[in-house]
């Protein structure tokens, strides 16, 4: 089928003894931002095909939890914690759980080879995927927050804080999810860790902290989603203390940077074995 003999090809005269010294020009390297944008766009379209049903599940799960909790909590601080916790839970479901599963499966099936044989910075792959998964939590989180405010009679005035909460909590949780998925030696383990992380965000984030024993409260402080929940919950008060809100969001941001850096390192490690 191949009709072109090798010896008539351009440049083949010097084929046999190519001087080692004259190295061929390398193809271009993909730069960080354009390739990040390309990965982001591809991941977003993937999510559109494959993840919409799961987004509904995430949203209904949070709404269901709020309806259940309505009979249990009072209308004050506890209600604020439940609404904030349920909203951030949507982020945990998608960014932590689903991303951990995705990277776990990609790694196990050899799908990482595709990216590893392209001249793309590891950070672009990890940040692009994490960003896409975090973006996909936006509608679910907003719907949950609005529904919760209406259900518990909380003010809608400061819901704009979600503009900061979703990306920062999203970065922290997606970074964690990506790192877990890429570090887990087996895909089932990645799924398990993602599920456990989401369960922790559910139990420790949604249930009011005051009723918890000391140990659980300590665990709660270790979970990055907690700070997103706290920041969001504070804004429901009549006179929110913005310094604390900023402080909580800063913790999310720092965890996000660290966990995404770990995920990038984990990607590099998983890609070249």
């Amino acid at each position: 089928m191949s009709v072109v003999p090798a010896d008539v090809l351009p440049g083949s005269a010097l084929a046999a003894e190519e001087p080692a010294a004259c190295a061929a020009e390398l193809g271009p390297r993909a730069r960080l931002w354009p390739s990040l944008a390309a990965v982001y766009r591809a991941q977003l379209s993937r999510a559109r095909v494959a993840r919409i049903p799961l987004l509904f599940v995430a949203t209904f799960q949070s709404i269901g939890i709020m309806i259940l909790m309505r009979g249990v909590v009072d209308d004050g601080a506890e209600a604020q914690a439940v609404v904030a916790g349920s909203s951030v839970l949507v982020v945990a479901f998608v960014a932590l759980n689903l991303l951990a599963q995705y990277f776990g499966q990609l790694r196990a099936s050899g799908g990482l080879d595709h990216y590893a044989t392209l001249p793309v910075p590891p950070a672009a792959v990890v940040l692009g995927a994490a960003g896409a998964y975090a973006s996909f939590t936006v509608p679910g989180t907003v719907v949950t927050a609005v529904f919760g405010c209406v259900l518990f009679g909380l003010p809608l005035a400061h819901l704009w804080i979600l503009v900061a909460v979703i990306p920062l909590a999203g970065a922290a949780l997606a970074g964690l999810g990506a790192a877990l998925g890429l570090l887990a030696p087996r895909p089932e383990l990645a799924t398990l860790l993602g599920q456990l992380g989401m369960s922790a965000a559910l139990l420790l984030g949604v249930l009011p902290a005051d009723r918890m024993p000391e140990v659980v409260r300590f665990a709660r402080d270790l979970l990055p989603s907690t700070y997103g929940v706290e920041a969001f919950a504070r804004t429901f008060g009549p006179d929110p203390d913005w310094a604390f809100v900023l402080g909580d969001l800063a913790v999310c941001g720092v965890v996000g940077v660290v966990s995404l850096a770990v995920a990038t390192w984990a990607y590099r490690r998983a890609a070249v074995r």
Binding site: V4, S12, V39, R41, G111, A116, P119, V120, V272
Partner: protein, 324 residues
């Protein structure tokens, strides 16, 4: 353009756990030496587990060898594995990274990640999809395509963002003849216009014979032969393959047939014999006349193929390369 010297990789022994027996240490590639010339289609042929994939992973910078060197177009890939991505395009066997994308987006994204700007990536995407006849499928997710179409879409992604070396791991698996022809004519066009080199991993002996300029036969991590397909076949040119298919069982009561049994490779009702031409003629005369003929269902007489070469060279356990 690509020189491989003394490439060795050993997978460590795995200790058995409950329910799973351990595996001993495996030399996946053992002192491999290859020279691939510019513009040729160079094949790696061998059965499953011969070390083809390991070798390719080492050439593409995905895996570090323990010893040895890989030089592609003057670049040391062992020392700088990240350069491989800027010299070659790799089509692996897995499509999971692209499965949920549309054909068009898979090709465009891959091009952008090869460093093309948006406009170039889109232009090249359109050209490649048109060239491979994939334009009607451009809007469909890879997941929804048949195996062969998906493979062709992955091949399209590998072509966007041109590279001087294409490393293709069984590119035509599952493809219909039209798609296969599209692949080989796309490869030929790139060779003729740009002197593109192709490293092809294959199981398929028939495809190997028709498309390859040169082929290295791998067995248990070693290169046991490396030549043109015709050159390799000359090594066993003295032999002819005789296949005998019996109706039920071989008529062992015929002394001539019973005498052949030791030299035949039996698989069910089929006996395969490798014989000199004179001998082959005698065998055919025997089985087509007399008592043996009644028991004979079918027979073929064939000149050697690459598969015969592989077996003659002492390939692993007389196991065939592909059912073709």
């Amino acid at each position: 353009m690509c020189a491989v010297r003394g490439l060795t990789k050993t997978y460590p022994a795995v200790r058995g756990r409950r329910g799973t027996p351990g595996t001993p240490e495996v030399r996946a590639t053992d002192d491999v030496r290859l020279d691939i010339r510019r513009g040729e289609i160079f094949g790696l042929l061998g059965p499953n587990g011969a070390g083809k994939s390991t070798l390719v992973r080492q050439l593409t910078g995905l895996m570090r060898p323990e010893h040895g060197s890989v030089e592609i177009l003057g670049h040391d890939i062992v020392r700088h594995p990240e350069r491989a991505a800027r010299i070659l395009a790799y089509l692996g066997q897995e499509s999971t990274a692209l499965d949920e994308l549309t054909v068009s987006l898979a090709a465009e994204t891959t091009g952008r990640l090869r460093g093309l700007d948006v406009r170039r990536a889109r232009a090249e995407r359109d050209d490649v999809l048109a060239e491979l006849g994939l334009t009607p499928l451009a809007g469909r997710p890879l997941k929804k395509l048949s195996g062969g179409q998906r493979r062709l879409a992955c091949f399209a992604a590998a072509l966007v963002g041109e590279r001087p070396l294409l490393v293709l791991d069984e590119p035509t698996t599952g493809m219909d003849p039209v798609a296969r022809r599209a692949v080989w004519s796309a490869v030929d066009r790139r060779r003729a216009e740009r002197g593109t080199t192709v490293l092809l991993v294959t199981h398929n002996v028939i495809e190997a014979e028709t498309v390859l300029d040169r082929v290295a036969v791998l067995d248990r991590g070693r290169v046991i032969a490396c030549d043109t397909p015709a050159g390799l076949k000359e090594q066993v040119a003295g032999e002819v393959r005789v296949d005998l298919v019996w109706r039920d069982a071989a008529p062992l009561h015929v002394p001539e047939v019973a005498a052949l049994r030791d030299r035949a490779v039996e698989s069910g009702r089929r006996w395969t014999l490798r014989l000199g031409p004179e001998e082959a003629r005698a065998v055919v005369a025997t089985v087509t006349g007399g008592a043996a003929f009644a028991a004979l269902d079918d027979f073929t007489l064939a000149t050697p193929s690459l598969e015969d070469v592989y077996l003659a060279l002492g390939g692993a356990a007389q196991q065939g390369l592909v059912k073709a």
